[in-house]
Symmetry: C2
């Protein structure tokens, strides 16, 4: 594409490096920024730079945070003995938005993926093991994405934690509420039959959930 | 949504002001920016600010430009007597990318839209009339979007230009090449029949195009 200005070209090239933003969308965004007031554009840029400089990682759970500890780890209303292991901060936000979970988190920062060169040493696994060793954790809930890499990571963590007394569970996988059996993929459907819950267990499970979440 | 940091919240709020970017996409982009190096983020922001400060408007056609005149108005290879009237710089880029047009442009900066409070005085119409009055323009091609506002603007311009000797045309509207009649909307189809081209005219028209474009 031929741009009317080399500055526009440079800005488009920078903006199109963001995920899911192609050259056409980048141009649309850049032309919108050009139409905004200078003060607004300055505010836009300074808010991004300030965030980049100020946002820290929570010393306990590796969530993003303004201080040394994140809001969740600092809150007294949270059940500190229940730790939900997630891949990134995005999953923390997703679970927080359900408004149902009262425990704390541990952000791994990714999943084990040999293809992408991500081994266990690149993740915040050591910190999780330290939390468990310190005896402050009673239950770990694995909330990783249902992918091969997610399952590999869960398997690795279970192996590492097998000598500890901690209770380990994984969030349930199956048919999403509101979806239709007919259109569910074969793997999910087959697995949801294999891991079916008997009604008694389900009732008990519901009680457990109601008690502990 | 509850954000882990007020700086992230502020950045999400700024990014989500861009067109077509909701809160969820903004969060995705912001978290990506957080993962980038500080130097990369600084380069990202400075390229946007530099663009905002340096990009000028061409004194002749109101296209964006690095200098006083844009590349197109400065080029000697362009036919300066043929002016294509467009709504925004995006249409200039779209037409430039066809590689077929050899004339110059005039960017109106919008279309007449009383509903949105855009009257003729808010557009670069006066500048276009001055270009025509100076006698440097022989033909004007209206390349506005086929909307009510676009047609209103064309009608307004034709009224303003009716005493000048300038030749006025509009880009043709009809069935897009490669599309199917069956799936074309009724208005376009009806109009394309009403404004049908006889084969002779079409041939002549093709010749005209080949000569003048």
């Amino acid at each position: 594409m031929i741009y009317p200005s080399k500055h526009i070209e440079q800005a488009v090239s920078e903006v199109s490096r963001l995920p899911g933003i192609g050259k056409k969308t980048a141009l649309r965004l850049v032309l919108h920024l050009l139409k905004m007031n200078l003060e607004e554009v300055e505010k836009f840029c300074s808010s991004i730079l300030l965030m980049k400089k100020e946002v820290k990682t929570c010393a306990i759970c590796c969530n993003y945070s303004d201080g040394e500890k994140c809001n969740i780890c600092e809150s007294n209303a949270r059940k500190k003995k229940m730790v939900c292991v997630v891949e990134t901060v995005r999953e923390v936000l997703a679970i927080e938005n359900t408004g149902q979970y009262q425990g704390v988190y541990h952000v791994l920062g990714g999943v084990i993926s040999p293809v992408d060169g991500v081994g266990p040493e690149k993740l915040n696994i050591q910190k999780l093991l330290q939390r468990v060793e310190s005896g402050e954790v009673e239950e770990i809930i694995m909330a990783l994405n249902p992918t091969i890499e997610g399952d590999t990571t869960i398997y690795y963590l279970i192996k590492k934690l097998e000598h500890s007394q901690v209770k380990i569970s994984s969030i349930s996988r199956g048919i999403a509420i509101g979806s239709e059996l007919e259109y569910t993929d074969e793997i999910t459907l087959a697995r949801s039959i294999a891991t079916r819950l008997p009604y008694n267990y389900s009732k008990e499970h519901t009680e457990i959930k109601a008690n502990t979440l």
